[in-house]
Every structure is written in C-alpha cells, then in structure tokens.
C-alpha cells in the first residue's frame, strides 16, 4: 500500500472523528440544560440580538432544520455571535489577538520543554541505573505529579509577589499606550516568563520520562554493542546514533501536545491573566457564552485532526520504514 492510500485512509478515519465532534457539539449545546434557547432569556441580550440569534440558529424551526442550518453555518465559517462580547462574532473573539497570544506562549513553552526534556533524557538515560538517575528521575516524577495550577501559583507568588522579578499578571503593560515595537516586544516577553516557566514544569517531565526510558533500553541493544566494539566513542554513539532514534519520539510527544497550541493552557493562562484562548474558554464558562464555547470546541477538534495528519506525513518523511500499517 502506498503513501497516498495510507494517508487517505487515515484522513477518512479522522473525518469521521471530526463529523462526530460536530454532531456531538450540536446536541450538547442544544439538549443539555442551559442551551442557547434558555440563554435567550438572558437579560444581557437586547431584543434585536435575540431576533438575530433566533434567525441565525433557526431556533423557531424544528430540530432537523436547525441541524442543517448549523452545518451550513459551520461550513461557511459562521459560528454565531458571542453573548458576552456584545456585537462581536465568535470568529472575531477567537481569531485575533487571543489566538496569537496563545500560539506565542504555547509554542515557546513546548519548544523549550522539548529541547530541555529530550537533552536531559538523553544524558541521564545513557547513565541510567546510577544514583544520579534514581534521584533525578524520582524528582521529575514528583514534578510530573504536581498540578499545573499550583506550580503557576507558586511561581507567581515567589517570583512575582515576593521577589518582584516578573510581572504578576497580564500580557502587556502598554495596553492603549503607543510604544515602539522593541519596547513592546521586550515587555511582552517579560510577561511571558512566568507562564513559560510554568509550562516547562508541566511539559519537561513527560519528555524526560519517555526519552529516558527509550535511551536506557537502547543502551544494551545489539547495534550499540556493535558500534562500541567497532571502537566508536560513547559520545559519538550517543550523538550520531541514539539521538537520531530519539528524535522521532520527541516528535510523537510534541504532536500529542499540539492541540494545546490552540486550546491553550487553561490553568496557566488563567493564573497569569494571559489573554489567550485558554483563559477565553474559562471566562466563557463563567459568562455562559455558549457560542464562544462551541467555537472553541469545534476549533479544538479541527486542530487535533489536522495535527494528526501532519504528524503522519512528517513520520513518513523522517522514517521511510513506516510504509504500511
């Protein structure tokens, strides 16, 4: 079976997942208590907006007509209008500054953790079994067990409130103020320090534990013994041979995390007041902004599906052995 047919079969599978997501989302947001019809009673909405919602969602029509309208709206990229951000469409609320903030934060956090976690896993996995390995691995399992919101609180408390090293909250100190780009960027990055350290605590253990186990079990494999017998130094075996095998595992972990690129880190963003999608998700729950919640939900599933396909293509390029599965 060739690559094209493999990918198309995979794509068909994922299309089913996407379809289920869209159907589940329709029923979840209509049949559960607190559906859009109920929120029409929301006093925050003015009468015109109510009529607009009824028209857009077809709420005065039978369920199957609503469903058809819902699908056509989604295919047109129309996710309705936000309840809490008056006058804004869901797309305007999600796509824009918030998505950029989340992408910036998450890509920095994940990339940094992937590099540090993989290098630590390589270095310590290669010496596994010793006292250093036991202490360090035990420690990282402990970090792995710490809830991320608590880590965020501790960093905010000790580095922000106590030491005054990082801004306590927010994305920028210059909202509504005109400053030049470098000043803005420096300030933005300073605001990112706390959340990025939190994300590093969250992501590094998963990379480390996985890579350490891979490297530690690879140590005794035949090809390593052969390379040693040929007279290659430990360093060359580790860098040229082991590291290449490890790269694909790093990719696997990264692709598993990648939906978070868009859904954001709900806890980290909430604690540090980072104006991204994760915090938007939380705020929308508190405000019962169902259209925004539905938009985030569908976007999440879309991202999961796309990353799945992209990962498969990258796998195929990196490791041509994966031809048929």
């Amino acid at each position: 079976m060739g690559f094209a047919s493999y990918i198309s079969r995979k794509a068909a599978q994922l299309a089913v997942v996407m379809a289920i997501g869209i159907i589940v989302s329709f029923f979840m947001f209509r049949l559960l208590p607190g559906d859009p019809t109920a929120s029409l009673l929301d006093p925050r909405l003015d009468p015109e907006a109510k009529i607009e919602i009824i028209r857009r969602f077809g709420l005065d029509k039978p369920l199957y007509e609503q469903f058809i309208l819902y699908i056509t709206n989604i295919l047109r990229g129309d996710f309705g209008i936000s309840f809490s951000y008056t006058g804004m469409s869901v797309s305007e609320v999600i796509f824009g500054q918030r998505l950029i903030n989340t992408l910036a934060l998450m890509s920095t956090g994940i990339a940094l953790s992937a590099v540090i976690g993989t290098l630590l896993g390589l270095a310590i996995g290669w010496r596994s079994g010793g006292i250093l390995d036991r202490t360090f691995t035990g420690l990282l399992y402990m970090v792995f067990s710490a809830p991320v919101f608590w880590v965020a609180l501790l960093i905010q408390f000790y580095l922000g409130y106590q030491a005054g090293l990082i801004p306590i909250s927010g994305t920028s100190s210059y909202i509504g103020v005109d400053v030049d780009f470098t000043t803005y960027l420096a300030d933005y990055m300073l605001h990112m320090v706390g959340p990025v350290i939190t994300l590093a605590f969250f992501f590094i253990p998963s990379y480390y534990i996985y890579i350490r186990n891979v490297v530690s079990s690879m140590k005794g494999e035949d090809f390593v013994v052969t390379l040693r017998a040929v007279g290659l130094s430990e360093r060359i075996i580790l860098v040229r041979h082991i590291a290449r095998h490890v790269a694909i595992h790093t990719l696997t972990i990264t692709s598993n995390q990648s939906p978070l690129l868009v859904t954001g880190a709900v806890f980290t963003e909430t604690v540090f007041g980072w104006n991204g999608i994760g915090r938007l998700l939380y705020d929308s729950i508190l405000r019962a902004d169902y259209p925004v919640l539905q938009g985030i939900f569908i976007l999440t599933i879309l991202v999961v599906v796309i990353t799945n396909i992209v990962t498969d293509v990258i796998y195929y390029i990196i490791d041509p052995r994966i031809k048929v599965r």
Partner: protein, 277 residues
C-alpha cells in the same frame, strides 16, 4: 486463590507498597485531624491571615478560617471523589469494552469511533464545557470525570477481550453452547480484572488532578471543601499579595503527594505485568 496470591506479591513491590502506605497514612492523618478539629471548617477561628502557630498549625486564611481544618477535609474529599470517579469510569469502560469485543460489527465500530473522538479531544476542554452546562455538585463532577475517562479504559479492555476471545478455552465454551452473556460474565470479566485494576489506579490519578483543577477554577461543588477549592479561595483573596504562603503551599503539596503515590502504584503495577511477560 490465585488473585489473593498476586495481591500479596504486589505488596512486595517497593513502589506499590510505598504508594499504598503513603495514601493510607494521609487518610489516617486526615481522619485524626478531623477528630481534632470537630467544628465546621467554614467557621472563623482566628485573625485573618495569621501565620502558623500552635493554635493554628497551618495558619488561617483571609477570613480567619483554620487552614489545617480545611486541609484535613480537603484530602478526604479529593481521595473520595478521585476513587469514586475512577470506579464509575472503570466499570463504564469495562462494560463498553466487553460489549464492543463480543458484538463486533456495527456496535463495535460505532462505539470505537465515539472512543476515538473522546480520546482525541483534550479531556480538560471537554470537562470544562460539560461542567458549564451542569450544576456544580460532587455527583456532576464525578459524572464529568467519568465521561472524559471511560474511553481510555474501554479501548484497553476491548483489546484485551479480543485476545481472550481468540483463545482455545473460549472457543471450547462456545462449542459447548455457551451464550455471549455467559462468556462475557464467566470468562471476559474475570480475565479483565488485572487490566481493570491497573485502569482504576491510572484513572484515579487523572481524576484527582482533574477534580482539583475544577475546584481551583471554582467549578467544583461549592458546599464541599476540596484541596482544589482551598487554592481557589486563596487565589481570589489577598493571600498571595500579603505573603501568606501557608494558604497555597500545603494544599498543592498534598495534591502532589496523592498523585505521586498513585503514580508510584501504577509504575509498580506496570513493571510487574512487564516482568510476567
């Protein structure tokens, strides 16, 4: 007989033993603490934000509640919700997994696509959206944890059941005229127990973390004190700005210890199944 042997053997595994002992120790300490603080934990017992002292071993929070009294109840709530959610989740996963493996065909395909979908969706996003619709109560939190957790268990149980269904003794039972129900109850369920036990531990771990997270966001049961809600109140109050570390450090540390103990148990169980082959 065989299963009780393996339980005793498990206790010889240092990781499993250490994890179980620390969990039990935490439960015992919290129960003792409960007896020592027999008042309503929401009562104001001292000055706001007073540091740890003999009268208040973990100080007081911003309205003067005794933090230790809240922590004792928090530990018990977190473990209780975690374990109950894990049991509900595992039973649900077990039933779906076994049904899918027996009926194959359309039933199996439909169930597995739903599983695919739920596994692909980040569980926190799903849990948050579900909780947005439901009234926050202990039962709804358990329900949400179960909805996000069962697909993982179902997939493992299904794979395991399919393996057992292809063995000779199940075929023999079929040949003797055993019904699907009989095979499910007499062969698949007992054979799935080791897989199920492992699933209970990992789902408890996930449930404790997720429950703490919901509590931290203020989406847990407002009438119950859990370790997550202690941190929710701490963040909303002036505790952070006034340097009251005792309001945030102990609660989070205890969640970490509970989760770490469960991680140890699950690592121990995993390495035992690997050794067995």
């Amino acid at each position: 007989m065989r299963s009780s042997d393996s339980v005793i053997a498990s206790l010889r595994d240092p990781a499993i033993l250490a994890g179980l002992v620390s969990l039990l120790a935490m439960i015992m300490l919290s129960l003792t603490g409960l007896l020592l603080t027999p008042w309503d934990p929401n009562l104001i017992r001292g000055d706001p934000l007073s540091p740890p002292s003999l009268a208040h071993p973990l100080g007081t929070d911003d309205i003067g509640r005794d933090v230790a009294a809240m922590i004792y109840r928090g530990v018990l709530t977190s473990i209780f919700i975690g374990v109950s959610a894990a049991i509900v989740t595992t039973i649900l996963g077990l039933v779906v997994g076994i049904i899918a493996s027996i009926f194959r065909g359309f039933v199996d395909a439909t169930m597995m696509r739903i599983v695919d979908f739920l596994l692909a969706t980040p569980s926190l996003v799903l849990a948050l959206i579900l909780i947005a619709f439901l009234k926050p109560s202990i039962y709804n939190v358990i329900l949400v944890l179960a909805i996000t957790g069962w697909p993982g268990v179902a997939r493992i149980v299904r794979a395991h059941s399919l393996q057992i269904l292809s063995t000779g003794y199940v075929e023999a039972a079929r040949a003797l005229g055993a019904s699907s129900w009989h095979i499910a109850l007499r062969h698949l369920v007992p054979a799935s127990i080791p897989v199920t036990l492992a699933a209970i531990v990992t789902t408890t771990r996930a449930a404790v973390l997720l429950e703490a997270g919901l509590g931290f966001l203020g989406l847990g049961d407002p009438s119950t004190i859990s370790l997550g809600t202690i941190l929710f109140y701490a963040r909303r109050s002036a505790a952070l700005a006034s340097g009251a570390w005792w309001v945030i450090v102990p609660a989070g540390l205890l969640i970490t210890i509970i989760v770490f103990a469960l991680t140890m148990i699950s690592i121990g169980m995993e390495s035992r199944t690997l050794k067995r082959g």
